[in-house]
Point group: C2
Chain length 304, copies 2
């Protein structure tokens, strides 16, 4: 079976690619062979695009449109869709993903959902591996789509070369309150549903926050107005992505982000590898679960 | 300075409590002394209440009302508010917290915000320590409020004895899609803003999902209709919390959850303690950041 999957991956077959990602996610013994088999130069040259934003902003619809654009350029697209739902009640995942079904019959659009819950961790490692596998299998664009509200979801964005934050008017106070935090990760902000009331105000707010938060922002996020459901503003958005990518390549920012992402992945793998032995030690230690848990943690670590 | 803080904590002084939580969050050398100084029986007997839900559901307003109820019973309340925003642009935190300001002058309501971002991890350890410090300082109710969308935020809920999921009608498709995942962590669902259209349908949906998701649900989440802004439905909600707590104490579920939470905290502390040495190894290793990051992680771990 192992050889089949490695062959499928080598042949860049969509099913082989999907299967390889699953195996790595399950930390299968084949993991290292899969990850070592990838063409580094392809991984290095792909565009890794993060698309994030709060629920209700229209991320999936926008992602769908972006995919269409890259497809019309003849590029193969891989999508890692991080789902803030559990694998147990998987219906929720489908619900959200259904919007990407416009590409369901296109073998050059490969969508892979990853649940954030129901796992002990290692989401960064698993998502990073999926990006590698997609890119190494000829996807010259890899999109990481994630709900930008939680910690791990935001960390995932660090795997991207460029991040598009999707916002929309009228999302309520809570979302408004998060805006500043969300803006820190954005290279480009898509003010989606820009035909709705409040879009101009939102765009101005973003400009103010983006320029003002640290005082010395050299490259504040570029704002694009979009109406994803009607395909409006996509030219602008794609152009902005291209411009930012070119600038980052020139300035060395892209290399810096890639290196940081690589180190994050290594750290995440290392932590995942160590957890089972720690859990074993916790379980096999006679403790009454009272008092300082930190003290118990240090004692357990001394038992090498 | 150390003795002052330990004395402040012993005297159950709000400022001493807040300072102690900060020190633990910063992993100060005093951490173990702080955590060891707490009265285990107080920690054990406190009610740890998780309040979670998507943005826009009205969590903060409902939390505010719940606090008032417990205060009217003469109970001291500690609140750990997990903020999905960055500590850098701290304005966002204030924005959301402002709704709890009704208790700003009450020295028996102590609110502590924790940012999920801008830290390498250890949120579970830090939040667990805050719960311990609050409970050990005489807060017989400790509330953990968190936006239930991200992975780590949902994990935090595992620190609670009982979890209230706050939902509201009209939150959009994305939130609706998350409902099933969110329901898995809930003991009680507050359908807030229940004066709005769609509240009854939402409540019925929840009943259906709660009963249907695994087939053998022994205790499906109890649904309460609330209008937090008007204080409606609070009697019911508080009653539901009391009923569930009594049932969990009787069945042993409470003990089981506490034990699980304790082990999670130990694991989180252990991981945090090991990370610096792994990061050091990553940084001091000569690597070209190409190829399989998992392989590099295993190599680094072998260098003991």
């Amino acid at each position: 079976m192992g050889e089949d999957i490695l062959k499928g991956l080598k042949d860049r077959d969509p099913r082989g690619i999907a299967r390889a990602i699953s195996l790595v996610e399950e930390n299968d013994p084949l993991t290292d062979r899969i990850l070592s088999s990838l063409d580094d130069s392809l991984v290095d040259s792909a565009l890794v695009l993060g698309i994030t934003g709060p629920p209700g902003a229209g991320k999936s619809t926008l992602t769908d449109r972006i995919i269409s654009r890259y497809r019309s350029q003849g590029r193969r697209v891989g999508v890692v869709a991080i789902d803030p739902t559990s694998p147990i009640s998987g219906g929720a995942i489908l619900g959200d993903r259904i919007r990407m079904m416009g590409h369901a019959l296109d073998k050059d659009v490969i969508v892979r959902s990853m649940a954030t819950r129901g796992r002990l961790g290692g989401l960064c490692a698993a998502a990073g591996a999926a990006v590698r596998i997609f890119a190494g299998s000829g996807c010259s664009v890899v999109i990481i789509e994630t709900v930008g509200v939680g910690q791990s979801e935001m960390d995932i964005v660090r795997l991207a070369d460029i991040t598009v934050l999707v916002l929309a008017p009228g999302l309520g106070d809570d979302i408004q309150a998060m805006k500043a935090g969300l803006l820190e990760v954005a290279d480009i902000v898509a003010v989606n549903k820009s035909d709705l009331e409040g879009a101009e105000t939102l765009a101005m707010d973003i400009e103010t926050i983006a320029r003002g938060s640290t005082g010395d922002v050299e490259h504040p996020a570029k704002v694009c107005m979009t109406v994803a459901s009607e395909g409006k503003g996509l030219d602008d958005l794609l152009q902005a992505i291209e411009t930012v990518e070119a600038a980052h390549r020139k300035s060395g920012e892209r290399r810096m982000r890639r290196d940081r992402a690589y180190d994050l992945e290594v750290l995440d793998w290392a932590v995942e590898m160590m957890k089972p032995s720690i859990i074993k030690r916790i379980e096999s230690t006679d403790h009454d679960r009272k008092g300082d848990p930190r003290l118990l943690a240090s004692k357990l670590l001394e038992q090498e």
